[in-house]
């Protein structure tokens, strides 16, 4: 079933929409949640929640890219869930490492959660990534959106782990500069 047909089922309020979404994107979403949570059962619950979120959001939403829409919701749910869990249980430590890497993009300037809208910041990051070499942007996305491990990205790409680490490091450095140039006071 095509994405448009699935979205059509959502709009018709047909419960088959959930079944078809599960069939087509269930594993994809569980993998994303699992990268963050490191636990299959929690991930499965997270994905079920994400599909419920999708049910509640569509309509009025009409996603351009259904997979990306579901990925975003799943990722957000997984991250919210892990924030409420004991920090020691976080994704077998991978998410801690990942956040630690991201902290390099954060300057020591004053920062307030309320100053910057996450959506606006996300759009700025997206614009930055589009200005980068395609492979670097993809590796960044695999790491920080999909939360894949360095090792997994290395195996996917054929690059060594050290090269992946190096690409990510350079991209984070550039991102930090790009955000500062935009006056985004992270």
């Amino acid at each position: 079933m095509t994405d448009n047909e699935i979205i059509g089922l959502f709009w018709e309020r047909s419960e088959q929409a959930i079944a078809e979404t599960q069939r087509k994107y269930g594993n994809y979403c569980v993998k994303i949640a699992c990268n963050i949570l490191g636990n299959y059962e929690d991930s499965q619950e997270c994905v079920n929640d994400a599909f419920l979120n999708a049910w509640n959001a569509i309509p009025p939403e009409c996603p351009n890219v259904l997979s990306a829409f579901l990925a975003k919701v799943t990722r957000n749910n997984a991250f919210n869930r892990i924030k409420y869990q004991n920090r020691q249980k976080r994704g077998s430590g991978e998410i801690e490492i990942l956040l630690s890497e991201l902290s390099e993009c954060v300057s020591e300037k004053d920062f307030s959660d309320d100053l910057i809208d996450a959506r606006y910041l996300g759009e700025a990051i997206g614009e930055f990534l589009k200005s980068q070499p395609e492979i670097n942007a993809a590796i960044f996305t695999e790491r920080y959106f999909y939360c894949r491990s360095i090792s997994e990205i290395s195996k996917m790409s054929g690059f060594s782990k050290s090269k992946i680490t190096s690409i990510l490091f350079r991209t984070r450095e550039k991102l930090k500069l790009a955000l500062e140039e935009k006056g985004i006071g992270l």
């Binding site: 589009k130 695999e142 959106f145 992270l186």
Partner: protein, 250 residues
């Protein structure tokens, strides 16, 4: 936390970046692999030659066997059936190397290409060995990915049959070396450079039978998360130890 805010913000990047990233990353791997035409470079191993004197134990008549456990898989990435299918491999019942269960092979994708595509290092030191007849591959779904190849020892001319087994399960695998039901075997547990164990054995010693045949010996071990099994009718137990040294694992 600032980094949490940043993490959350990355959740709002453009849909197309999210949708395409995996394909872009994997496409790179395919491109890179096409440049690789030989796996000899992957086998640039340090060879430590020594004249170690090894005392073997004797397993005598009966079904005595030598067991030892090794950890396999670790961080080793094994392609899935779907990924193999993406590069042209197909399921077939005609695969002559298929064991029980489904197998995948392809006329269009060679074992060497699979090894290159998925960065599977193979023990094969071109300085001391010459490959014979190419490789065969077997992919048993949900079980293992195995490669079979034969090396000629340049020094002795002995043929060494290798099985490289990449287990799919993140699990322990047990290597079991059996003695013959009524034969004498010499065997030795060795500690490899990486601290793991190998068992080297020579079958039917003391001229109990097959006295005109060249000695038969085996080596079983785990190296970098993969299981290796070497069989040879051309060399004895000491020769097999020498092979491990030439391969750079002992």
């Amino acid at each position: 936390m600032k980094e949490e805010k940043l993490f959350k913000s990355i959740g709002y990047i453009d849909d197309l970046l999210i949708e395409r990233s995996e394909a872009v990353v994997k496409k790179r791997r395919t491109r890179g692999a096409l440049k690789i035409t030989a796996i000899a470079a992957a086998a640039a191993l340090t060879v430590l030659m020594g004249a170690a004197v090894v005392e073997f134990s004797r397993a005598e008549i009966g079904n005595e066997r030598i067991n030892f456990n090794v950890t396999v898989q670790n961080e080793i990435y094994i392609p899935t059936a779907e990924e193999l299918a993406e590069i042209g491999a197909v399921y077939s019942d005609d695969n002559p190397y298929a064991g029980q269960g489904s197998a995948i092979y392809s006329d269009t994708v060679s074992p060497l290409e699979v090894i290159s595509l998925f960065d599977i290092p193979v023990l094969m030191n071109g300085e001391y060995f010459t490959e014979k007849n190419g490789m065969h591959m077997q992919y048993a779904v949900d079980r293992n990915l195995s490669f079979y190849y034969t090396l000629i020892d340049n020094e002795t001319g002995a043929e060494l049959d290798f099985t490289l087994d990449c287990a799919l399960a993140k699990d322990y695998a047990q290597i079991v070396t059996y003695t013959g039901g009524s034969a004498y075997w010499d065997y030795k547990l060795l500690t490899l450079q990486d601290g793991s164990n190998a068992v080297v054995a020579q079958g039917i010693v003391d001229g109990v039978s097959l006295s005109d045949d060249p000695p038969y010996s085996t080596a079983n071990f785990c190296h970098e998360g993969r299981l290796y099994s070497i069989h040879s009718w051309g060399i004895g137990k000491d020769g097999m130890i020498s092979v491990l040294e030439k391969l750079g694992v002992l």
